[in-house]
């Protein structure tokens, strides 16, 4: 019995030596260059759904707020003045603020001047979901990062975790600040966090997100990143696009064209 075990271990040792030699270490050693996979290719399998968005800032009209208005009406987002307690799902932000590491003094003038449309990135690796202590923020199978307003305890850990500033907190009762209530979508109470939901409620009915439908310049393309024949994939394949803060490993589902 004891001998058997010893033999087995010996064989295992020898086998593993060869194993390492042929499959890994030696091979790697003789190759001249080894590239670290810093940014892995998207591991999406065929026929899976991952909703994504491309925002073409060359088509986005300066001063136009059609998409913002549509979204904020659709989702009963309160209009609270002042920076302290404002709630916003989609808004415009200066290029140097939205893309701090990509901005430089010689940036193209229009890019520098025209504010960028920003919203929740529905990251593939969302830090907000990672830190939420109650799963009130969670990622759906189709890639949408969603919130359960009834479970949120208002600890605001997700707001500290989000590297894009995409989340807002209801510091007070938001209802008096909703201009016109949309009865098709719930309002929130004080004390919970909220953010863009990629119009999950409209997608469920087969409709496009409110921001895309409201845009007259077709500067927003929305679709399934998992479908190689989708419009969004065609756009991504033919144009040069950027994601925000890729260096953080979050892998946003929102892409930009400048």
């Amino acid at each position: 019995m004891r001998k058997d075990r010893r033999n087995f271990l010996k064989k295992l040792g020898v086998a593993s030596l060869f194993g390492i030699g042929s499959a890994g270490a030696l091979d790697q050693y003789f190759k001249k260059t080894v590239y670290a996979e810093l940014f892995k290719e998207d591991g999406l399998k065929e026929n899976t759904t991952r909703w994504g968005m491309v925002i073409d800032m060359t088509k986005c009209e300066e001063g136009c707020t059609a998409c913002i208005d549509a979204c904020h009406f659709q989702h009963n987002v309160p209009e609270i003045s002042g920076k302290k307690e404002e709630v916003k799902w989609i808004w415009k932000e200066a290029y140097k603020n939205a893309f701090p590491s990509k901005s430089h003094p010689f940036t193209k003038e229009e890019t520098q001047k025209d504010p960028v449309l920003t919203l929740c990135n529905h990251c593939k690796n969302p830090p907000c979901v990672r830190v939420c202590p109650t799963k009130a923020t969670f990622k759906r199978e189709d890639g949408i990062v969603m919130m359960d307003f009834h479970r949120c305890i208002g600890c605001r850990f997700c707001m500290a975790g989000c590297p894009y500033g995409s989340r807002s907190f209801n510091f007070k009762d938001p209802r008096p600040f909703i201009k016109k209530i949309n009865p098709d979508f719930p309002t929130r109470e004080k004390g919970v966090v909220e953010k863009c939901n990629f119009c999950a409620e409209r997608l469920a009915k087969g409709q496009a997100p409110a921001c895309q439908s409201a845009c007259n310049n077709r500067s927003i393309v929305f679709g399934n990143l998992g479908d190689p024949n989708s419009e969004i994939r065609r756009v991504l394949m033919t144009q040069n696009t950027l994601q925000r803060k890729t260096e953080l490993g979050t892998d946003p589902s929102v892409f930009y064209i400048f």
Binding site: P133, I153, R156, K190
Partner: protein, 384 residues
């Protein structure tokens, strides 16, 4: 033993009622916050955590520092700590209670607090923080109370308590490590995204906590004639000295990495705290004050002639405690939010209601501590 908390001299009752008034004011302020929402605080969309979470972070350190008495006494059989180990454990109880209250008042929906237990989420560090903090509270109540009851009855503490005492040692380290992980694991918050955050937290905790204990011991000696012993105090100052030096060494490390690497994100947080950023410098005087009195106290602790002077020792302990309270209780938490993820600088200052609630919670901590110390000292005095 609890009956000992119900007898005391006039000063004892004046102090108790003073604390009860502060607690009431804090409670009423909290009712206002509960009614209106966190709008009544100085927190904003950009600075989403303020003085509550900052106090929580600092007090976790005070709680963890009990281990600096438990290790020498129980592991190294350093008998001189015999009289004050209980003070450390009861300080931990009071500090952990305050931590929990500070997290509670920071919540937007406190009535849903049980969701953390109903939907346990192991990937969230907050879940683990809740777990280790409650565990630490139970451990310290248990160890402190059982050992004290044995003393009350004039018998040896039961053998079964030993494993719990030993368990409380790594547990103390865990509460501050996990608390550091709340911050150190967030992408895009450069001030916090540093591997030495947990070690730094521990170093500052092991300086601030024992400093508070020295102050409390000297106060008890003056007020009720409870003498912790000269040697115990001296040993504590040695602990404070080394922990404080390590803490400032870590702070220097942060400066080197941020400014020598010249990576803007890494520089911004520290730059905002110590030099101001884009015309915003609310915290600059605080941070320099903290640094100067901190280093000053290290000098006093370092030179035997100075630290043996009791008035200077008190100044040094007050200074290091205040210094680290500013560093961790203000700078670290607020600095992490500047600049915001969208590169804007929003400054924060607490509102009056926020300050009253904070004072109320500190008063609850002081109340619990007073009652526990009253019991402990009555028991200790009966035997001498």
């Amino acid at each position: 033993m609890i009956e000992k908390a119900f007898v005391g001299n006039r000063n004892y009752w004046v102090w108790i009622f003073f604390l009860l008034i502060l607690i009431t004011v804090g409670f009423v302020s909290y009712m206002i916050q509960l009614d209106i929402g966190l709008s009544v605080t100085g927190m904003s969309r950009d600075v989403t955590w303020g003085v509550y979470i900052a106090q929580f972070t600092f007090l976790v350190g005070v709680a963890a520092s009990a281990v600096m008495l438990v290790i020498p006494y129980y592991l190294h059989n350093y008998k001189k700590f015999g009289k004050i180990v209980i003070l450390g454990e009861f300080l931990a109880v009071s500090a952990v209670l305050m931590c929990m209250l500070f997290v509670f008042v920071d919540m937007g929906k406190p009535m849903r607090v049980l969701n953390v237990i109903l939907y346990p989420t192991p990937n969230s560090i907050l879940f683990w923080d809740m777990t280790v903090l409650s565990g630490y509270l139970v451990l310290n109540v248990l160890c402190g109370w059982v050992v004290l009851s044995a003393e009350h009855k004039g018998v040896q503490p039961p053998k079964w308590i030993k494993p719990f005492i030993y368990l409380s040692i790594p547990w103390a380290v865990s509460i501050h490590t996990v608390t550091a992980f709340l911050y150190a694991g967030l992408p895009g918050r450069h001030l916090w995204l540093t591997a030495i955050l947990a070690p730094r937290f521990l170093a500052s905790a092991f300086a601030a906590g024992p400093a508070l204990l020295v102050l409390l011991s000297l106060l008890l000696k003056k007020l009720v004639g409870f003498d912790a012993g000269k040697e115990a105090i001296e040993k504590l100052t040695t602990i404070i000295l080394y922990a404080a030096i390590i803490n400032f060494f870590f702070v220097a490390m942060e400066f080197f990495t941020a400014f020598y690497s010249n990576i803007p994100g890494h520089e911004h947080g520290l730059a905002y705290l110590f030099f101001g950023l884009e015309g915003h410098h609310n915290l600059v005087p605080w941070m320099w004050f903290s640094l100067i009195i901190g280093i000053g106290s290290v000098v006093i602790f370092l030179i035997p002639k100075l630290r043996q002077n009791q008035s200077l020792l008190i100044v040094a302990c007050l200074s290091i405690f205040l210094s680290l309270w500013i560093d961790k209780g203000i700078g670290l938490v607020l600095g992490g939010f500047v600049p915001s993820p969208l590169e804007s600088v929003t400054e924060y200052s607490p509102s009056l209601i926020e300050i009253l609630i904070t004072l109320g919670i500190w008063a609850i901590g002081a109340f619990v501590l007073t009652v526990l110390y009253k019991i402990a000292i009555s028991v200790k005095n009966q035997n001498t």
